[in-house]
């Protein structure tokens, strides 16, 4: 997992190719974090490296298993995510920096 993350940081888009941003995920979706990288400006009140570190500190780290549990009423925002064995709430705009390889049941069936 962690090698993958290292590769991804090196710019290997091959890893990211099969992954989606956590900000686009729907309830019930689950998967594994492949990359946490806050590099584009998202108009956050803190700089990107700070946001990246906060995400990491809440357990959004490469290799962690995530599942989207709930979402808010308006535009499905914010989202409640299971990260390994804890639950974290965050806004989709902050979640956009977390990249996830989704494992859908239908993928397994195919």
């Amino acid at each position: 997992m962690h090698d993958m993350a290292a590769e991804a940081r090196g710019g290997a888009d091959a890893v990211l190719a099969g992954s989606v941003s956590l900000s686009t995920v729907q309830p019930g979706d689950r998967g594994v974090i492949v990359e946490v990288r806050a590099d584009q400006s998202g108009g956050h009140g803190v700089d990107e490296s700070e946001l990246e570190r906060r995400l990491l500190e809440f357990g959004f780290v490469e290799g962690a298993r995530v599942e989207l549990l709930h979402q808010g009423l308006i535009k499905g925002d914010p989202i409640a995510v299971r990260v390994d064995d804890m639950r974290v709430a965050l806004r989709r705009r902050d979640a956009q920096h977390v990249w996830v390889r989704i494992e859908r049941p239908e993928d397994a069936a195919r």
């Binding site: 962690h2 993350a5 108009g43 956050h44 009140g45 803190v46 490296s49 946001l51 990246e52 570190r53 906060r54 995400l55 990491l56 500190e57 809440f58 357990g59 780290v61 490469e62 290799g63 549990l69 709930h70 979402q71 808010g72 009423l73 308006i74 535009k75 925002d77 914010p78 409640a80 390994d84 064995d85 804890m86 639950r87 974290v88 709430a89 965050l90 806004r91 902050d94």
Partner: protein
């Protein structure tokens, strides 16, 4: 060297939020606690003492919960600085007591790795160990202790289990002469955090076997409470219940306090000779103390709800549900409790803004809280509406007076949202803090902890807010009493006082918004509390016991004010900061006269503009 003998051993409690750290602190120190503020910041400082089995005195500091020593909020900065010994007026701790939720070790392990770098002797308390056992979670305590290089004690703070073991371990550590190592901590980079996660993951894998019966209750409860529609409906129901409780439960005790203080004042008045001293004690001190105490029931009821919701683990869910709705106006999801409570009274509302940890979000909430229509405005609104708005039906089930009352409430809410929107868009533009929040597992609150917390709230309000409110109340009394009217004076006494002089002097300023001098004079004692304006108007219009005789006062106002003036007065009361108690609490909660000044100025400005607009519109429409 000798210092070590003289002073108590300092122990700092550090841990993630929601690990039962405060419950452990309560179990350790019982009632030997002191709550104060850290020098220069509004972060609460909780310290308690205890004696260990070996007879050592420990002074325990309950530091704010954090996920990292890299501070993200003022609370977390205190934790970092206290641990590092950088905090002004504080010594570095002799022992760090790390507190972990035994069922949720991943993040705290990373924090412990950071704490290890600080080099202080450390003991790890695995709290909520009963829940871990019930879940069938197996932890190799000896192995983990060896790996982390610190003793481990299992505790159940809410049942006071493991507390003696814990203090004994601190004794052992100190007796063995554990010394602080070199402090190698520095703010970790993202790569270092990733590395620490890997390390924590490895430790978890080696020493902790996952639970055989993981908690499923939280997931099931969340399916209902976090449901986009049902969850919001339940939240609104809860808020309604809370709002009702603040109004109804707090009403009778508040009335009793008012009556009790009034009775005591009357007794004092009987004992004292008539004159200034009597007036100072009865109208100044007793009325001042009463005006502080009268808020206590509301504060207790509100905080009872807040503490229960927080301890259940519901508060984070409520913030989740409300975040997007509040976010449109630039408010944090957690701002809804302070704002809702402000409908009863802005004082508990502003105090409860503590649940918001980001400084800017908290300031915005505090600044707009007094715009919510508090219950003290109701007597003023009722008086003016009864005097000026005809009691007639304007549609099916719509009464004009009721409609105006509703409009006043709506204006308050709309302006609070508008002001917070402006603050976020104009003054703190682009500074939207990330919103990341753990949703803790649900837990049953412990009665003892809830009660202790509640009593601390009451103590904080009385000792510190009271210290600001009381002198301000006496000041208002001085202004409305001195100088005394000359012998043979015919007008009301207040007319000759400083308040009267100020009222006459600044009346030209108020002429453009249609206020006559009587109104301006009444505004000054009205600063004591909004509803006092009714009594003050009674005084200047020489209507005896105006509060009991609202009809007579209303009739008098109706004949001496134009409709435009009446409406302008209502508009003034939507916005004006007519309450020294609120200003005192803002000073106390923001620890700054500056923020209090900002609030006063912006509210006066809004009030003036609103009254100006209303008055001139009404005059133009022929209501002058």
């Amino acid at each position: 060297m000798s210092e070590g003998v003289l002073r108590p051993t300092r122990v700092a409690l550090v841990g993630n939020p929601n690990t039962g750290k405060t419950a452990l602190f309560n179990a350790l120190t019982g009632s030997r606690q002191k709550v104060a503020n850290y020098a220069g910041v509004t972060v609460e400082r909780k310290e308690g003492t205890l004696t260990t089995p070996a007879g050592r005195t420990l002074s325990v500091l309950d530091l704010p919960g954090t996920y990292s020593l890299r501070a993200r909020s003022p609370d977390e900065a205190v934790t970092r600085d206290a641990v590092l010994g950088r905090l002004a007026g504080e010594h570095e701790p002799d022992v760090v007591l790390a507190v972990a939720d035994a069922t949720n070790l991943r993040l705290v392990l990373r924090l412990i790795l950071e704490l290890r770098a600080v080099g202080r002797p450390m003991v790890l308390a695995l709290n909520m160990y009963d829940i871990a056992q019930r879940q069938g979670l197996r932890i190799d305590l000896d192995g983990l202790s060896r790996e982390l290089g610190c003793p481990i004690v299992t505790t159940v703070a809410t049942r006071k289990r493991g507390i003696d073991d814990l203090t004994a371990k601190v004794d052992e550590l100190l007796a063995a002469g554990a010394l602080a190592g070199a402090n190698t901590w520095r703010e970790p980079t993202a790569a270092e955090i990733r590395g620490a996660h890997r390390e924590a993951q490895r430790i978890l894998k080696t020493y902790v076997r996952p639970p055989e019966r993981p908690d499923t209750v939280t997931g099931k409860v969340d399916a209902v409470l976090l449901h986009p529609v049902a969850g919001l409906a339940i939240l609104l129901g809860l808020l309604f219940l809370m709002f009702q409780a603040v109004f109804t439960w707090a009403g009778p005790p508040a009335d009793a306090i008012e009556a009790g203080v009034g009775w005591l004042g009357a007794q004092a008045a009987n004992l004292l000779p008539d004159g200034l001293l009597e007036s100072l004690i009865v109208d100044g001190l007793f009325a001042g103390v009463g005006s502080v105490l009268v808020f206590l029931p509301q504060i207790l009821v509100l905080f009872l709800f807040i503490i229960l919701l927080e301890d259940f683990g519901y508060m984070a869910r409520a913030a989740f549900l409300m975040d997007r709705i509040m976010g449109g106006a630039g408010l944090h999801g957690r701002a809804f409790i302070p704002l809702l409570s402000s409908f009863a009274c802005a004082i508990p509302g502003i105090m409860s803004a503590r649940v918001i940890d980001q400084k800017r979000d908290r300031m915005t909430t505090i600044l707009v809280a007094p715009l919510m229509t508090c219950s003290a405005r109701i007597p003023v609104y009722t008086l003016i509406i009864a005097a000026f708005i005809p009691d007639r039906t304007v549609g099916p089930g719509l009464n004009l007076q009721g409609l105006v009352m509703f409009g006043l409430y709506a204006a308050g809410i709309a302006s609070a949202l508008a002001v917070s929107f402006v603050i976020r868009k104009v003054f703190w533009r682009g500074a939207v803090e990330p919103f990341l929040m753990e949703l803790p597992t649900y837990k049953l609150p412990s009665a003892e902890n809830v009660l202790r917390n509640l009593l601390q709230r009451a103590q904080i309000f009385l000792s510190r807010a009271g210290r600001i409110i009381l002198p301000l109340m006496v000041l208002v009394w001085v202004l409305s009493t001195f100088p005394a009217p000359p012998a043979g004076a015919i007008g009301p006494a207040i007319d000759y006082s400083f308040a009267g002089m100020i009222g006459h002097a600044i009346q030209p300023l108020f002429a453009p918004i249609g206020f006559n001098w009587q109104m301006v004079v009444a505004l000054i004692p009205g600063f004591a509390a909004r509803e006092v304006a009714v009594a003050a108007l009674g005084t200047v219009y020489a209507i005896g016991d105006a509060e009991a005789n609202v009809g007579a006062l209303g009739a008098r106002l109706a004949e001496s004010w134009s409709l435009a003036t009446g409406l302008s007065f209502l508009a003034w009361y939507i916005f004006a900061p007519q309450c020294v108690a609120t200003l005192g609490v803002v000073k106390r909660e923001t620890n700054s006269w500056g923020w209090m000044g900002v609030m006063f100025l912006y509210m006066v400005t809004l009030a003036y503009l609103a009254s100006f607009l209303v008055y001139h519109t009404a005059v133009a429409l022929g209501a002058g």
